[in-house]
């Protein structure tokens, strides 16, 4: 069953269609919430909050494309995660001097699996992790990030540079491990 049919049935109030829709999208958006919120229980709660808001607003939702549906739900999930992080007041970010952006090694990046990339991102500090997720993955600009998190654009750039530097450092460690395994 295609996504458009599922959404049209779910709008009518069909619980089976809603359940199928949830089971199809829940894993993807749970991993998204897990990138923002480290704790799995909190990530699941944020995912459920996001889907709750989506199903409540479903009667007014108009299907345009699958990408639009994913973008809409992604926006809801990201907002839920950031709201919880703001409640915990973790964005005490001080504007640091811009570091030289790390140069990513494409070859090494291709050798790393998605699960490892996911683990590397979750290991980042909360501020750098959030800004890296918003800028590098969601594609938000620094001024949008600053408005969303209540920080300055300069602090957002500094935290992004810090995230890239840390990721590069983590990737270099992985590179050594891979080289050691290949040598053996």
């Amino acid at each position: 069953m295609e996504l458009q049919e599922l959404i049209s049935e779910a709008k009518k109030g069909c619980k089976a269609a809603q359940e199928v829709l949830f089971s199809r999208l829940s894993d993807n958006f749970l991993s998204l919430c897990n990138r923002y919120v480290k704790n799995e229980a909190d990530a699941e709660e944020r995912m459920l909050d996001g889907f709750y808001k989506f199903f409540r607003a479903l009667p007014q939702f108009r299907y345009e494309s699958d990408a639009a549906v994913y973008a809409c739900i992604t926006r809801i999930m990201v907002n839920e995660c950031i709201m919880q992080l703001r409640k915990k007041r973790v964005f005490n970010i001080v504007a640091e001097p811009l570091e030289r952006d790390a140069i990513l090694n494409e070859d090494l990046l291709d050798k790393i699996s998605e699960a490892e990339i996911h683990v590397l991102i979750r290991k980042l500090p909360v501020g750098a992790r959030t800004i890296f997720n918003l800028h590098a993955i969601e594609g938000c600009r620094h001024d949008e990030i600053a408005r969303l998190l209540g920080i300055t654009a300069g602090a957002s750039r500094a935290q992004l540079a810090r995230a890239r530097a840390l990721l590069q450092q983590s990737i270099s460690f992985l590179k050594k491990d891979y080289e050691n395994k290949e040598s053996k």
Partner: protein, 226 residues
Amino acid sequence: MKIRNQNSSYTWQSRVREYDVIPNRTISTEESWNKLRERLDKVPQRKSRTWYWVAAASIVFFFVIKLVFTPGKDETLNPGFTKTHNVVKQNHQSLVPVDTLKTVANTTVETSDPGAKKPVIKPTARLQPLHSKKDSMLPETGDSVVSPAKDTPVVEEDIAQQPARLPSVHINDLINTEPLPMNISTKSLAVKRLIRLFNIDFTKDVPSKKQEGLPKSQYTIPNNQN
């Protein structure tokens, strides 16, 4: 070794967004759906706004009470009537004796309904001056200052039946039997009213400053003997 542009996020997006499996997931999809289903089945309770209505009703009630119990300017003595006053020409050189005054015809005063138009009260008698015009200090005036509208009924007022304003008199003034002096210019207004009440006649009377301040409209108390 290719070095990707450091501002490019294509690799990260493509690699991360395709990832949808969380290793060692402790919570199953069915359990998550059951939790979500329970939340969706709950009907959201609307906040009771009873106290809004109570506050609004109390404010309206307060204003209604204020409007009902606030007396108007003309309703202090006789509610429901509008009065027209005849400006009585007064002669300050000599007091007008009560015997020369014509009595007012006995008429009944009708109470007005809240919805009906207020009747205009007009005294039937006119006080005639004692002296000529030359001696008068005050200019003559015509009839009632306020002419009633055509539609409003005119009701003749019965002054005798209306409760008159009695002057405030001290008991010592009543008991005092000594003859009053001829010159009463320094006496108070209450004493002067007493003089009129007991039909005391004085041939001479020096106008005083207080007499000039006497109100123009004064209803004299009719003599019961007449």
